[in-house]
C-alpha cells in the first residue's frame, strides 16, 4: 500500500497517510470548492488500509471545515464506525487550540455519532 503526502493550501489541509504506521493525519482548514473530489482518495486509502490490516489511527488538527468537508469527514467516520463494529482497532484524536471553541463543538458533534475511541484534546494556545 502506498503512502499519501499532500501539502496544505489556503483551502485544503495538509494530509499524511502512513500505510506502515496505520496513521492518517490531517492539519489545517478545509473549504475546497469540491470537497468530495478532494477527500475521495483519502477515504479510499482508509478503506484499503482497514481491509488489508484492520487498524487505523486518525489524528486531526483540523480548524475550519465547510459543510461539504463536514460531509466528507462524516463518510470517513462512518467507515471507522463500521470497522469498529467488525472488531477492528480504530481511533480518532482531534486536537484543538483551547481558545478555539468552535473547533471543539464541531468535533463533539461528530463524536455523538461514533462509538469507537474518539478523543477531543485541548492544547494550550500557541505563542
Amino acid at each position: 500500500m502506498t503512502n499519501i503526502e499532500i501539502a496544505a493550501t489556503q483551502s485544503t489541509p495538509a494530509i499524511s497517510a502512513d500505510a506502515g504506521a496505520g496513521r492518517l493525519t490531517m492539519r489545517g482548514d478545509s473549504y475546497p470548492e469540491n470537497s468530495f473530489a478532494f477527500f475521495a482518495p483519502i477515504i479510499e486509502w482508509a478503506e484499503r488500509r482497514l481491509a488489508e490490516t484492520g487498524a487505523l489511527a486518525v489524528d486531526l488538527y483540523l480548524l475550519y471545515l465547510n459543510t461539504s468537508s463536514v460531509k466528507a469527514m462524516m463518510d470517513l467516520f462512518d467507515l471507522l464506525e463500521a470497522a469498529h463494529r467488525a472488531g477492528r482497532r480504530v481511533s480518532v484524536h482531534w486536537y484543538y487550540d483551547q481558545q478555539n471553541l468552535r473547533v471543539a463543538e464541531l468535533a463533539e458533534e461528530f463524536k455523538e455519532d461514533c462509538s469507537f475511541a474518539f478523543e477531543i484534546i485541548a492544547e494550550p494556545t500557541a505563542g
Binding site: 473549504y31 470548492e33 460531509k71 478555539n100
Partner: protein, 179 residues
C-alpha cells in the same frame, strides 16, 4: 463616478460600519483571498474567536453557494455578479448581507426553505442538519447543508428579500444573517 460619489460611498460605509464589501463575480481564488482579508479585519476588530469563526464560516457557505448556483445555471460573469457586505449592526453584532441573481422559478423554493429555517429553534436546526448530512449530495455537488449551517450560527432568524430586475426575467435575491 466623480469625487462626490466616492465621498458619499465612504460616508455610507462609515455610517453603516461596513468592514468589507465586494461586488462582482466570485471565483474560488477570490473567495479565499477575500476570506483571508476578512479574517484579518475581524482579528483587528477584536472579534472573539467564536465570532470570527462564525462570520468566516457564513461568508464561505454563502459565497460558495452563490458560485455553485451561478455555475449550475451556466451564468456568464455579468449574470453571476454578486454583492456581499459584512459589517456591524446597531447592536454591534456582525452581519452579512449577500445578494445575487436567481431564476424566477428557483425563487419560490428558496424563500420557502428560508421560511422553514426561520421558525426552527437551535435544537430543531441541529436535527435538520444531521438529517441533511445523511442525504445524498445535491446535483450541484454541494452537501445542501449551507443554509442550515448559516441558520445555526445566526443569533437571529435569517431574513431574505426578492426584487424584480428591470428588463430581466431573473430576480435579485438577498439574504441577511446576524451573527
Amino acid at each position: 463616478m466623480n469625487h462626490d460619489d466616492l465621498r458619499l460611498m465612504r460616508q455610507s460605509y462609515d455610517e453603516k460600519r461596513i468592514l468589507l464589501c465586494f461586488n462582482g463575480p466570485f471565483s474560488q481564488g477570490l473567495i479565499e483571498e477575500i476570506g483571508n482579508a476578512l479574517r484579518t479585519y475581524l482579528a483587528s476588530d477584536a472579534a472573539t474567536s467564536s465570532a470570527l469563526a462564525d462570520v468566516f464560516a457564513c461568508y464561505i457557505e454563502i459565497t460558495q453557494n452563490i458560485r455553485s448556483y451561478a455555475r449550475s445555471r451556466g451564468y456568464d460573469d455579468a449574470a453571476a455578479s454578486a454583492t456581499v457586505v459584512i459589517g456591524r449592526n446597531d447592536e454591534h453584532r456582525y452581519e452579512i448581507l449577500a445578494g445575487n441573481n436567481i431564476e424566477a422559478a428557483d425563487a419560490g423554493p428558496l424563500v420557502a426553505r428560508i421560511e422553514q429555517l426561520k421558525v426552527m429553534d437551535k435544537t430543531q436546526l441541529k436535527t435538520a442538519y444531521k438529517e441533511q448530512l445523511r442525504r445524498e449530495p445535491t446535483p450541484g455537488g454541494g452537501a445542501g447543508l449551507g443554509l442550515i449551517d448559516i441558520a445555526r450560527k445566526a443569533s437571529a432568524p435569517l431574513s431574505c428579500s426578492l426584487r424584480d430586475i428591470p428588463g430581466d426575467s431573473r430576480q435579485f435575491f438577498s439574504l441577511r444573517v446576524v451573527i
